[in-house]
Symmetry: C2
């Protein structure tokens, strides 16, 4: 190691020690011939005292050798873990110089969106962003602990999956070795986790990357992370119970907050009482430190599309109707409620889940109601329908937005505060310049070419 200690760990007990620290120059204050330099790393800040010419500027990367001494009485900084001591530098070595940064790193001043995203490597140096990402990592690990304690198996599902015809908003990926064919990037691991239940894995979880080429809103990103789970031989209440336990564990472990039991509202109640299916049950709606979870259950299985005059699935086609409502399926689809539930936190939907249809005949009935032909169903997910022919268990699960959870826990509305390299509303990353043009050879090798919207259609070229 090029250092004996980090910039955040030394205290009075280290007085007298010879140490070597590495980090970034955070601030420099000159007092006559003496310079006070705050040296910063991920772990904290340490005041360096140096006599003489140093040639440093903010954000230079340096290594400092010296001795730990007590600060003069009255000059301690009680807000800093290292605030009672300072390091008298014997040697300062410049590891790398730095241009004047276009973002202030040593203050609580936040730059504009565009400049923050272009200079993300500087924005991420701000202690707030450092804390946000460290917090995110802790939440992830707390969640994993709980999944593992409860016998869930972490299983990775593919990123290169089958495109679904009419798969609106699928990102598609041309194959080089399979001319004219494409993979899709998964909008969620839905089909694959159902397959895992048919394969008998019983309880599955994954921090799944989900990708969707959609028009972006403030709280949407082309890629996001979800805590994805699926359980076999369960009823709705078992999933609700497990997930509630998961959030209670996370909030207790990470924030020291004992969440009270989650309220359960039916979709009808929520609409009637709060005028929304995402009610904000906080006493003080503007308090970001109050966390009011609730379940909204018993969603209708179908919604009626007036324009196209047809029934559509409220969630997705695999959601099971409530047993006692199966009898209404054919004649009164609007009356059928599903084993379908949302988790809501402070007015924000954290995730959706359901018990899935595991019976091929029932699946066929549901497809008929939404006007999906057998042929179309086979083309879309025939492999899943086939799999259910070999013995599917009762099962259900959820996909739970992780970026959003972490953001809400920290009091942010914008999930970009908890994502290292987010994209902007045009689905671009101003830092790396993606998406960008590719070379003709890359198009040729993947058997595609670009069609500009305003170029004439091919047939008119003759």
């Amino acid at each position: 190691m090029l250092r004996t200690h980090t910039c955040g760990e030394l205290t009075r007990k280290d007085v007298g020690k010879k140490v070597k620290l590495c980090g970034w120059v955070d601030t420099i204050r000159e007092h006559g011939k003496i310079s006070f330099i705050d040296l910063r790393d991920r772990y904290g800040k340490m005041q360096i005292v140096f006599k003489g010419e140093h040639g440093l500027r903010n954000e230079f990367v340096v290594s400092v050798s010296g001795e730990v001494k007590n600060r003069k009485p009255g000059t301690e900084n009680k807000e800093l873990h290292t605030g009672e001591i300072e390091v008298f530098a014997e040697k300062i070595e410049i590891i790398n110089e730095a241009k004047v940064p276009p973002i202030k790193i040593n203050e609580n001043e936040v730059a504009g969106d565009d400049i923050r995203m272009k200079y993300r490597f500087l924005d991420l140096r701000r202690p707030e962003m450092q804390r946000n990402l460290a917090f995110r990592a802790k939440v992830a690990q707390a969640a994993r602990e709980y999944f593992i304690e409860n016998d869930f198996l972490e299983i990775e599902t593919p990123l290169l999956v089958k495109p679904t015809p009419e798969g609106a908003r699928d990102y598609i990926v041309p194959s080089r070795v399979n001319e004219g064919k494409f993979y899709a990037l998964p909008q969620s691991p839905q089909l694959y986790k159902q397959i895992l239940m048919i394969a008998g894995f019983d309880k599955y979880y994954q921090f799944a990357r989900c990708l969707r080429d959609e028009d972006l809103r403030a709280d949407r990103q082309p890629e996001h992370t979800q805590m994805d789970l699926e359980m076999s031989f369960v009823e709705q209440k078992d999933i609700l119970g497990f997930v509630e336990g998961l959030y209670k564990h996370i909030f207790k472990k990470i924030l020291g907050i004992q969440l009270s039991d989650f309220k359960i509202l039916t979709h009808e109640e929520a609409k009637k009482k709060y005028g929304t299916d995402k009610p904000d049950l906080r006493k003080d709606k503007s308090n970001p430190k109050e966390f009011a979870f609730c379940w909204v259950v018993d969603f209708p299985l179908f919604s009626y599309n007036k324009d196209e005059k047809k029934w559509e699935p409220e969630h997705h086609i695999f959601t099971s109707p409530k047993k006692e409502h199966i009898k209404y399926l054919e004649k009164e689809p609007g009356k059928v409620l599903g084993d379908l539930f949302d988790l809501v936190l402070n007015g924000t939907e954290l995730g959706s889940g359901s018990i899935r249809i595991n019976n091929p005949e029932l699946q066929e009935k549901v497809m008929k109601i939404i006007g999906m032909s057998k042929e179309s169903a086979r083309k879309k997910f025939g492999f899943l329908l086939d799999a259910y022919e070999y013995g599917g268990p009762v099962h259900g699960g959820m996909g739970l937005g992780f970026d959003r959870l972490v953001a809400l826990m920290l009091g942010f509305n914008d999930i970009r505060e908890v994502i290292a390299f987010p994209k902007n509303k045009a689905a671009q990353n101003p830092m790396d310049g993606s998406p960008s043009e590719v070379e003709p050879i890359q198009l040729k090798e993947t058997h595609i070419e670009i069609v500009k919207k305003n170029s004439k259609p091919k047939s008119s070229k003759k």
Copy 2:
């Protein structure tokens, strides 16, 4: 829950209990009017005793209610955790029927590759595959523990990244909202983890999904998982020490094996003594239960491409030359060794790592040697070069193949034994049928069209 217990947990202490189990019919043995049914789930097998007509066949999904009783003396199965008892069924309910499976699930018989991949949901029911994937999950969590104990932060890097011009074997992804532009899927998070070090995160890790559109070999997949790590203010020996500790922790925790210290060979020694830079140091080369790790260090920084008569980087362009060799850079590049190292297990490379160049001037020199112009470098990774202008720390790291590690720990050569849904050598998944054709609307929306190799070039169409 639809069950009171799993099929693997009941023992003598449960005798007399009324239980309800769910699972798949593994085997049926008829003895006159009595049927002995082995019921299987992820957790084990339980013998069910049933009198009367049951109508079951293998792989039916059932729920069984009954009482736990001791087996008759002499009929116990000592190999089974549940082998001293059986459940006398009062009621068997069929949850789902199953067609006759084309793969045997209740025996140690393994089907051919093609059928295993097409019916992966059945292949995965085999106890061996269940164990493999459960084992994989355990290894992942043991690794995470060690990273976290050592202050590494888990940070997710993007899946939609900037395509690198000449980025051979990049999967490219057309953007719908940015006409004519493309993302690439990451072959590794290399550039982003270097950015994370510049951003001051100090120690980063991630179980990273890496995608590469290459011609496949037995041990390659279009997507694989790597334990990706990067550390700041370290020397080569610090990275070697940490990674060695990581593997010792994993082997101790998961296999109960105390690994001995890893041998360190220079590249020159390895070549001279073993004729390879991936030496197999096992005493018995055919023993898959012997684990001989070694480091191979001091690789040359460049290799000479005789055909193109130019120097090429041995690893990648960001690898730092050894300090004492910088002086040879311009006149004798072939003499320059890099801070570049491989981890090898039983003759297989598990991963490569290096100390990175953090100094823009040195980076420029190296680019000059391999004949990369400033313009070309800017186009490829200008954003990373820019970032280093703002103060890059000394840093280095590794990417460590995870699929391969798990496979070797289990004694497999083929990483598909530890991947839930692998692709075949043609980069296809016979189960879901990917890659496949997409609808014209999907091409149109992403501003591309397919060019078949044998179709005439556009210009000749006139």
